[in-house]
């Protein structure tokens, strides 16, 4: 009797496990449909249906309504599944589970490689996306294509600029820095004038660090298919760490994480005096730091060599169509609508920073005054920055993971005597180990 019970239990367990196995087996085989031509897309728009979009970009709301007005049979559902990493985690899990993935997903440029290499997003060239090759600005377009495949369409971009609290600088009689050496001087002067004031905040941010290394001429990542090089020992990286180490050693940066409550407070009360960040920042300042309206101004990013005019990208997103999407033609139609032509212009009017050349060069865009910046025509500075972005930058095909261990490794430089250069070396080692583990050829 006992053995029979045991056998039955085992049997039941086997059935249950088998069910679990089948479930996973079903999950891994994602249907692989070829892209439709313009006719298929038109037919899909005629037929109508529902498009689920995972995005956090605020200007999409208005344009999604425009899209629904133009194609009344299509229902667009905008879902905020989290910002950045949180959304990618949810997206990866939905793709792995084989159900629940959206039809369109917002993916930042640095994260796109991870989805492209896993072949979890559609190649949009089969839908006719290659015709937009010349309508987007160079940086964002390079970020979404590799050779012939087009993994997504650029939605916005983030050429970097220097945002500073003019009130604070004027009060203490300090000049706006044009080089990073002057920046360090300004940091010392501000902190000396009022110990509560810090030039900026930093608790170790992978995105900001890589962007500044990018501007300094460092190219730590080289990605060529599945061959990857990680090297934080190049000259550009050394230029960056030499300067940033001074700020850390002298405790000139506020130990406040970006996007935290303390961060918004610091931006509002002047204790965080500057930000070197992407051109998408104005919308966030206007909504998140409304009380400091009029205090802030925009200037070009400080330079590593005096008189140079080099910039870098920080953030910026694209819209991708996951392979798991149930209605890819419709998904592509929506993506195309909001990233190109009138849809893109409408989003720029709402405050997005354009990735389309036409919008970037239009007088309406360039001459728009920003009441938040005291009427300054800030877009001229952003557009100038977009033209000066350093070329040939690559992210890792698994940058999302690499960024998640930045604080484990490089973060040590912020809370212990570890040097930033050693921290970046540890980050490099962790990235190399993971890359090898995942089947990439990683040679340093």
């Amino acid at each position: 009797m006992r053995t029979r019970t045991a056998r039955r239990l085992l049997g039941a367990l086997a059935v249950v496990s088998a069910l679990a196995l089948t479930a996973t087996a079903c999950g891994s085989d994602a249907s692989d449909g070829a892209g439709g031509g313009p006719k298929d897309i038109e037919a899909a728009l005629e037929k109508g249906g529902k498009v689920t979009v995972w995005a956090w970009e605020p200007t999409l709301k208005k344009v999604a309504e425009d899209f629904e007005k133009k194609y009344p049979k299509v229902d667009v559902e905008l879902v905020n599944a989290g910002t950045g990493d949180k959304q990618y985690t949810a997206l990866q899990n939905a793709i792995a589970a084989g159900s629940g993935a959206p039809d369109v997903a917002q993916v930042e440029y640095y994260a796109l490689g991870q989805f492209a290499i896993g072949e979890s997003v559609e190649d949009l060239s089969s839908y006719g996306a290659q015709k937009y090759g010349t309508s987007f600005t160079l940086g964002p377009w390079n970020a979404v294509t590799d050779g012939k495949a087009i993994h997504a369409l650029p939605m916005d971009s983030g050429p970097m600029a220097f945002f500073y609290n003019k009130q604070v600088f004027d009060k203490h009689g300090i000049n706006v820095p044009t080089t990073w050496d002057e920046y360090v001087e300004a940091a010392r002067a501000l902190h000396k004038a009022d110990p509560k004031i810090f030039i900026t905040n930093d608790t170790g941010d992978a995105g900001a660090t890589t962007s500044l290394i990018w501007q300094a001429g460092g190219r730590p990542y080289k990605t060529n298919g599945t061959a990857v090089t990680v090297n934080f020992g190049d000259e550009g990286t050394k230029t960056f760490t030499a300067t940033w180490q001074k700020l850390l050693d002298e405790k000139l940066v506020a130990p406040i994480s970006s996007w935290s409550d303390a961060w918004y407070k610091g931006l509002a009360d002047g204790s965080i005096a500057t930000l070197s960040i992407g051109a998408w920042m104005p919308a966030n300042l206007t909504s998140g730091v409304a009380s400091a309206s009029g205090d802030w101004r925009v200037a070009p990013l400080p330079q590593w060599t005096k008189g140079a005019k080099v910039s870098a990208e920080n953030g910026g997103s694209s819209l991708a169509v996951p392979k798991a999407s149930k209605n890819k033609e419709l998904a592509y139609a929506f993506t195309e609508f909001v990233t190109t032509g009138a849809g893109a212009s409408a989003r720029v009017a709402e405050g997005a920073f354009p990735a389309t050349s036409a919008d970037l060069e239009s007088p309406a865009f360039l001459d728009a005054p920003f009441p938040y910046f005291g009427g300054q025509k800030a877009n001229q500075i952003f557009a100038e920055s977009a033209r000066n972005v350093g070329v040939d930058w690559n992210y890792l095909p698994y940058q999302v993971y690499a960024n998640s261990v930045f604080n484990d490794t490089a973060g040590k430089a912020y809370v212990s005597p570890t040097k930033l250069s050693d921290g970046l070396k540890a980050w490099q080692d962790a990235s190399v180990k993971y890359g090898k583990d995942q089947g990439f050829t990683v040679n340093q």
Binding site: S17, L19, A20, Q92, G118, P255, A262, S404, D408, Q438
Partner: protein, 308 residues
């Protein structure tokens, strides 16, 4: 002949009936046990089976899924990130659990002594933190610990002092220990107190007549009487320490460089799975951790329950 044949013919039916009754009874038994077995299999055995199954494979960004046998286990057993996390929760266990159980025992004895004024208020007040969800408790304490906008920062500003930063790498484990102690003293106190309640009062009287003082009654009567409750609370606390996750996970946002993604084994499993997409390896680490926890908890139980 007729008789014989009748009996010979009649004999089998009762036997068959008996067997079928036995079978019906067996099925009736399954009828009662079935719902439990089904749920048990589905929510308890199946996940473990699935985790074991997952741990034998490896899914890579390049190359897809392949069977790797016990390779993942070999990797986990030599993974410094795993062992560092385990050492950290081990240290946490050795310091925090005795402190917490000691306080809980003291409070339980005080309430049980009957000499406390307002004892039901005291009992509820000590128990109340347990009713606060761990996530909320961590957030509350995170605000208290903050050196810029938190209570620690306010004290620094008000008195012009510089208190050590509770969220610095050297103190953050102690700060987490403080949160966990605050949360669970009341819970353990309640276990001890209810065990004390069932000790017959006559034993105390007998001990008092024999000339035992209060302290002697505590050590010779009360503590031996609640021994099994002490063991149970210890085992729960050991398991809780090994599964430390909520508190470090919440505080990580405030102290990203002090609490690494492999701070505790559970946090490590979480980051492996959700940030690195290494589900197979995460399953392996989870199983190794489960086995280690089971061994330690079982050892404590064996030692604790031994008489004499």
């Amino acid at each position: 002949m007729t008789l014989l044949s009748t009996s010979a013919q009649a004999a089998p039916p009762p036997r068959r009936r008996a067997r079928s009754r036995l079978r019906t009874e067996a099925w009736a038994g399954w009828g009662f046990a079935g719902p439990f077995v089904a749920v048990f299999g589905l929510v308890f055995l199946a996940p473990i089976g699935y985790a074991l199954y997952l741990s034998l494979f490896k899914d890579r960004l390049i190359g897809g899924t392949s069977f790797v046998g016990l390779d993942n286990y070999g990797e986990a057993l030599t993974d410094p990130r795993f062992w560092d996390g385990l050492a950290r929760v081990g240290l946490f266990l050795l310091v925090q659990v005795p402190v917490m159980l000691g306080i809980a025992l003291l409070v339980a004895l005080a309430i049980d002594s009957g000499r406390l004024y307002g004892k039901s208020f005291f009992r509820v007040a000590v128990f109340l933190p347990y009713a606060v969800p761990a996530v909320v408790a961590s957030l509350i304490w995170g605000f208290i610990y903050g050196t810029r906008f938190g209570l620690v920062g306010n004290i620094n500003d008000a008195f012009g002092v510089t208190l050590p930063d509770p969220l610095s790498p050297s103190l953050v484990l102690a700060s987490i220990g403080n949160i966990v102690t605050w949360e669970f003293v009341g819970y353990n106190m309640l276990i001890f107190y209810s065990a004390l309640k069932v000790v017959p009062r006559s034993l105390y009287e007998a001990a008092a007549i024999d000339g035992a003082g209060e302290w002697r009654i505590v050590t010779s009567v009360k503590l031996p009487a609640i021994r099994s409750a002490l063991v149970i609370a210890t085992i729960f606390s050991i398991i809780g320490s090994f599964q430390l996750f909520n508190e470090p996970s919440i505080l990580q946002k405030l102290a990203p460089n002090a609490i690494t993604s492999d701070f505790t084994p559970n946090l490590y499993t979480y980051s492996l799975s959700f940030a690195g997409q290494q589900h197979n390896y995460a399953a392996t680490v989870a199983i190794v951790m489960g086995v280690i926890t089971a061994i330690i908890a079982y050892t404590v139980q064996l030692r604790g329950m031994r008489k004499g």
